[in-house]
């Protein structure tokens, strides 16, 4: 199996961090068209799907295959890179290692045994009535505000307004975005679901640089959050199961 690539440090960092918020270890699918991944957190509450096209790389060469990576180690290694750095990746199949080079530094990271990584999740089939497109920072802002009063947040649609609401024992916050303040909103049915901020705040860390995200919502249904990375050459999708309102 061959895998050899060069990519901007920033793009790689954003990509890996979008995944490592949910899982510590992951199995990447490599192929001539790019790399992809599907993973679920240990509690089976949240899922991430990830695709990075070969176009996101400065140079890219790969045959079909799978590798297991320790994302905690990888994030640490990438933390050493300057954002202007180029990162070189090369797989050594014989030694079962990935070599990572940047700005004169080179690391070799041992690959994980594929059988030790949890199986790829079955993806739920969901038909969610609400689709809203908004600025990633708006969701991030709502999540941050909610964290000051509670450990959960309600997301829903009321007429022409996408609302995000959190109630604590004494205080509450609400952010309402009208159709005009959103990039797009389509609703074919009611939507109101409650989510754990533990999960949502980790996920929303990846959103601060994202101009446009699409969220799908239903009534007491999981939320889907989709956005692109790497100047449109990569896709990230989250799926988060709701909490039940008491």
């Amino acid at each position: 199996m061959v895998f050899r690539a060069v990519i901007d440090a920033d793009i790689l960092k954003d990509s890996i961090e979008a995944i490592s918020t949910l899982v510590d270890e992951a199995k990447f699918k490599l192929g001539p068209e790019g790399i992809s991944l599907m993973a679920v957190d240990p509690a089976n509450v949240a899922m991430v799907s990830f695709e990075l096209s070969s176009n996101a790389f400065d140079s890219y060469e790969s045959t079909e295959g799978e590798i297991g990576l320790d994302l905690v180690k990888l994030v640490n290694v990438l933390g050493m890179a300057k954002s202007s750095d180029k990162v070189g990746l090369e797989l050594n199949e014989k030694t079962h290692k990935l070599s990572i080079s940047m700005g004169g530094l080179s690391y070799t990271l041992s690959l994980l045994d594929l059988s030790s990584i949890r199986k790829e999740p079955k993806v739920p089939t969901l038909d969610l009535p609400v689709k809203a497109t908004l600025n990633g920072n708006d969701l991030r802002k709502a999540v941050k505000a909610a964290e000051t009063v509670s450990d959960h947040i309600i997301l829903g649609v009321d007429g022409d307004v996408l609302f995000m609401e959190a109630k604590g024992d004494t205080d509450q916050v609400r952010l309402g975005l009208t159709r005009d303040e959103l990039i797009d909103l389509t609703a074919s049915g009611p939507a109101r679901s409650l989510f754990s901020l533990d999960y949502l705040s980790d996920m929303s860390k990846s959103l601060k640089k994202v101009n446009e995200i699409t969220i799908h919502l239903g009534k007491d249904y999981p939320i889907k959050i989709n956005f692109t990375i790497a100047n449109g050459h990569g896709k990230v999708g989250y799926l988060l199961a709701p909490r039940i309102e008491s």
């Binding site: 509690a43 089976n44 509450v45 999740p121 739920p124 199961a241 909490r243 039940i244």
Partner: protein
């Protein structure tokens, strides 16, 4: 106790959070023995109230079950019923061992010997008061208790086979002999634990054992796993002297069943047909209800603090955690999976 299959069985260390949202049918007797054995003072004396009644198990049930519930696990405790008749000999032998250990403990404690704890552990025994108190406390905590007609592990295994539980929780391997598709060990002892008598701490993680994967790896059937267990000894028979799990596995792989292995060894296992049947078709019930209720705060305080002299302050603190965790509303994606 149970068949010691450890050396040949494949297990996987997991994180407690991987059991989030999972229903675990816990072998109650096994867990109570464990609490009675490890929750003791340094000289081996169990926790007791002012009446002299043992409370080690109540402490274990309160604190450790709350930890499980906080991790999103939904526990169901399965209690033993009447033991099968041919287990009588084992039960008698065990009672004798415990009595001897108790005498040895009392002597060691009087003399201030260091191994008093060890003998005290070996003397742990369940009585009807201990079991009754355990059921009362679990009931007040809102945790379902299922009464097995006979072996608790067999009933727990049936509930897992039936899909009403995601796994069986026990330290023993016997649930696998009863056909449990998944067995979790170390559930109630997960975390940082001090080794008795030593100033050493170890980090214990849950272990997941999957029957199909074990049988595939060993290239045997579940019936052959039972035959292996009978060769090394189960709760119902002593096993052949000098035969450990690895030798037993080789013998069964070679001969296909216990008969050939016994012939080669020129040994016998009494009633092996009946024992095998009792693992394959144990006495179980399919009428049981699994419902989790809200914890009854006032009743728990009355029972533990007024009747058994627990510290009210400490009980209130853990109850706050239990009540919060019992209201667990987080769904998992399983719910929407195809």
């Amino acid at each position: 106790m149970g068949a010691d299959l450890r050396d040949i069985i494949e297990k996987k260390e997991i994180e407690l959070k991987e059991l989030f949202g999972k229903t675990i049918a816990i072998d109650a007797y096994n867990t109570l023995y464990q609490f009675l054995s490890i929750i003791r003072q340094p000289d081996g004396t169990p926790l007791m109230d002012s009446q002299g009644s043992i409370t080690s198990h109540l402490s274990g049930l309160l604190y450790r079950t709350t930890n499980l519930i906080e991790s999103g696990i939904k526990p169901v405790f399965v209690f033993d019923g009447k033991p099968p008749e041919f287990k009588a000999q084992t039960i008698k032998e065990r009672a004798e061992i415990r009595d001897a250990a108790e005498k040895r403990w009392i002597m060691a404690r009087t003399l201030g010997e260091e191994d008093a704890f060890k003998y005290a552990q070996a003397s742990s025994k369940l009585n009807s008061q201990i079991i009754g108190d355990a059921k009362t406390l679990l009931g007040y905590m809102g945790i379902p208790c299922i009464q097995a007609p006979s072996e608790g592990e067999a009933q727990a295994a049936f509930m897992a086979i039936n899909g009403d539980a995601d796994a069986v929780g026990s330290q023993d391997y016997d649930a696998l002999l009863f056909g449990a598709p998944k067995l979790v060990r170390n559930l109630t002892i997960t975390g940082r634990r001090k080794l008795p008598g030593k100033n050493i701490y170890i980090d214990i993680k849950p272990e997941m054992l999957e029957l199909n994967s074990i049988l595939d790896t060993l290239n045997i059937t579940s019936k052959q796993l039972i035959d292996i267990a009978m060769l090394i000894g189960t709760d119902y028979n002593d096993g052949i002297k000098g035969i450990g799990p690895k030798t037993a596995l080789k013998l069964i792989q070679k001969h296909g069943a216990i008969e050939g292995a016994l012939a080669e060894l020129n040994e016998s296992v009494e009633n092996f047909d009946t024992i095998r049947e009792s693992f394959l078709y144990p006495e179980i019930t399919s009428t049981y209800e699994i419902d989790w209720e809200k914890p009854e705060e006032a009743l728990i305080i009355k029972f533990l603090c007024d009747q058994h002299d627990f510290s009210e302050e400490r009980v209130e603190k853990v109850l706050e955690r239990l009540i919060e965790a019992s209201a667990q509303k987080q769904k998992t994606l399983d719910h929407w999976s195809p």
